[in-house]
Amino acid sequence: MTDMTAPADSLPLVRFEAITKHFGGTVALAGVTFEVRHGETLGLLGSNGAGKSTLIKILSGMQPQTGGDILIEGVPQTLDSPVDARDCGIVTVHQNIDDGVVFGMTVAENLVLDNLSVAGGNPWMPYGRVRRQAAAILEELDFDLPLDVPVEQLSASGRQEVSIARALVKKPKLLILDEPTSTLSARESERLFERVAAMQARGIAILYVSHRMSDIQRLCHRAVVLRNGQVVSNHDAPLDARAITVSILGEIALAPAFESRTGRETVLSGEGLRVSRHGPAFDVSFRRGEIVGLTGLVGAGKTELLEQFYGARPLVSGKLELLGQPFEPRDQPDALAHGIAMVPEERAAQSIFPGEQLTTHASIGRLDRFSTAGIMQRSEEVAFARKVISDFHVRCPGHEAPIEALSGGNQQKLLVGRWLADEREVMILDEPFRGIDIGARSVIAKALRAYSENTAVIVCSSDPEEVIEVADRVLVMRDGEIVCDIASSEISAEQLADIMSAAPPSQAHPTTMETNSVH
């Protein structure tokens, strides 16, 4: 309300005033203050867990803030639902493209979906009428989409256009685009950028959330960087990519706090691998006694590569060798039987059994060790759970507590810790540090270091800082290819970020990288 003295037309469109958000004891946002002005495109950046998604959820009415005010054109507003947000002129196109469309309906039906929820109006809605309304919408927005095609038959970018069209129909003053290019190819991204330019020309303010520096530089008038739930810097065009990167990553570790190792014999290797049928082929190998950090932007192909190692995806091409023997896992249990374990990326969807005790989570992967002729030996199981809890400093009300009672970091310590009790050939961790605090991160990193003495450990992360922090060797993936393979002691997180985001794949080869790394 301090802006009340300013003339009305110079009021910012949206102003966040000391927004805080707590999840239990975890602080996601610690007082965020910034504004979006009329008609501007503002870039919002930050590493995983910096608070971007939380901020977007608050602004789109999906979650209430714990404290602070949202002022829309100077007036404090409560955004309790997406409808409230829409009434304030705020519309969001979410990162997951398929959240914005309804499968099983045609493009035309998707486009008029929002008209159906309007009270009153003509309830008679034969398909001809739906089609005419949809055609009018496309005409007005100058979009070109096939009306009668089921939406699931469109490409990712086509479905995104449907989502954007649905958003624009609501005549937003502020459009939030959340990681819009994360699942698009370069050509598809180009189409999106033209769309954004057209929206800018219409005077729509855009909050553009992205990891991709090149997108931000190209589209945004200003940029705001979040780190640890706070705004750490504001940048004006021309945007300085280097300054922004430094700001995103914070104090970059000057040197790894450990001796970088080179590993011993090769455990797992692949020749002529691909992450998609028409992608480039590459070779890769992992050795006992080292931690390899696999990094790259979202959509670079990291997950697709790892899934081939642990049997969640059939080998696309080439061949794998495990301990010198040809290896092609049928499925995950088969890979596990061969000594390849993995900690999945999405804790809630891929690791957690809802409502089950910590003990159950600790023991589930090695029930044979706690049972005789199939009968569970409860005391041994509990002893194991207690050991993981104490070794990994899992803060919990007790081993019988349901896993939901723990913070994300403590859940992760338990879920990683349970795997490290057994020796394996390869241990894969997909985004193990996502959304967890620095304390949990260091406990896990330290344990991995010890565990990797006899195991090839692969840590996958899109955060270059994390990779440098834990890995002996770093692989960078970009556009489905490994573009850099280097000892972590010879590269900085900033340089990694540059390689990850470099636009055309020809600009940064491993060779050019070596010259880059000489200061």
Binding site: F23, A341, P354, I375, M376, R395, A401, E404, A405
Partner: protein, 343 residues
């Protein structure tokens, strides 16, 4: 690292620190109501509280309990078996036909019946695990297929001793073991109650004491996470449906022994009773998931209620309504009073 575990919302949402009264109702509500019901009926009617009547109630719930325990197993893996009633009918006809028409001995008839149940379970498992049809619709299709097979095999006719077979009449009779299953007693306890008790102990042990039980519940909780820790999810889902078919067969054998004849579709009515026993069981002791003890209580609860109401000349056609009421209240307890669904 300043996370205060004790006050996190996730912790508050669990039954451990819920408002005490809600928590008590959630855990013990159904058991308390059952106990109260027994006390009230016993005071109000002199016969209700007798040993004979207690046995009568248990006998009435035995078959439902056995089928319900089969449903419970399929529910633990996140499935749902709609074919249990049709499987019972099939087993009834197989066992009756084996003895009456083909003159097989009792043990052979039992083995054939159990095999028929396993086959029906296998059909479910194939549709669900290999054809990847969702459980509910797959078992719906299996229900019709199994029922239809039964009807075709016996030309839609019932099987009874001395039935006409075209020019001759059937010479086979029900074997002694079936007579015992239908009307035998051990220390005053009806044989079907003993069988149901043994089935209960076996299923309880399986689900609560063995690693296989852990695996079943893990698959039901999160199949993706189960595969990630190396559990062969498909194999265990097949096993769950086979066990469900096997227990339907046991129930079918009890049923045919009770009537000493084979009527087509006689088992169909047990589907809904068994499913509701298992669902009522969710609310017992705050389990909030399918569990053996809960299913047993669910089956006994319904039988007790109907027994008591009948004693007070409550019209038989009101029974369905009373069952619906009970199921509604039990579901209310597990879904509304219980911890919010985390799925």
């Amino acid at each position: 690292m300043s996370t205060d575990i004790q006050s996190s919302p996730a912790e508050r949402a669990t039954p451990y620190s819920k408002d005490a009264i809600t928590h008590f109702i959630y855990r013990y509500g159904l058991l308390v109501v059952l106990a109260l019901m027994i006390v009230v009926f016993s005071i109000a009617h002199p016969f209700f509280g007798t040993f004979a009547n207690a046995m009568f109630i248990l006998q009435a719930s035995a078959i439902v309990a056995v089928v319900g325990l089969g449903c419970t197993i399929s529910m633990t893996v996140g499935g749902f078996d709609l074919a249990v009633g049709a499987t019972m009918s099939l087993v009834v006809m197989v066992a009756a036909g084996a003895m009456v028409i083909y003159g097989f001995s009792g043990p052979v008839a039992i083995l054939l019946g159990l095999a028929a149940g396993l086959l029906a379970g296998l059909l479910n498992a194939m549709l669900i695990v290999y054809a990847r049809i969702p459980d509910l619709v797959a078992t719906l299709a299996a229900q019709f297929l199994v029922s239809g097979t039964t009807l075709l095999a016996v030309n839609g006719q019932s099987i009874s001793e001395g039935m006409s077979l075209g020019t001759t009449s059937a010479t086979g009779t029900f074997a002694p073991i079936f007579k015992w299953l239908g009307s035998g007693y051990v220390f005053g306890v009806h044989s079907s109650v003993i069988v149901a008790g043994l089935v209960f102990l076996a299923v309880f042990a399986l689900l609560n004491l063995t690693k296989w039980g852990r695996i079943f519940y893990a698959i039901g909780g999160n199949p993706v996470a189960a595969a990630a820790v190396g559990i062969p999810v498909r194999r265990y889902r097949i096993i769950a449906y086979l066990l469900s078919g096997l227990l339907s067969a046991v129930a079918g054998l009890l049923l045919v022994a009770r009537s000493n004849r084979g009527d087509v579709s006689v088992g169909d009515a047990y589907l809904l009773q068994a499913v509701s026993a298992a669902l009522v069981g969710y609310a017992v002791l705050g389990a909030n998931r399918a569990n053996a003890f809960g299913t047993l209580i669910g089956a006994v609860f319904v039988a007790t209620l109907i027994n008591g109401l009948t004693m007070f000349n409550f019209p038989y056609y009101a029974q369905t309504f009373v069952q619906g009421l009970l199921l509604g209240v039990a579901l209310l307890m597990s879904y509304t009073l219980g911890p919010k669904s985390k799925r």
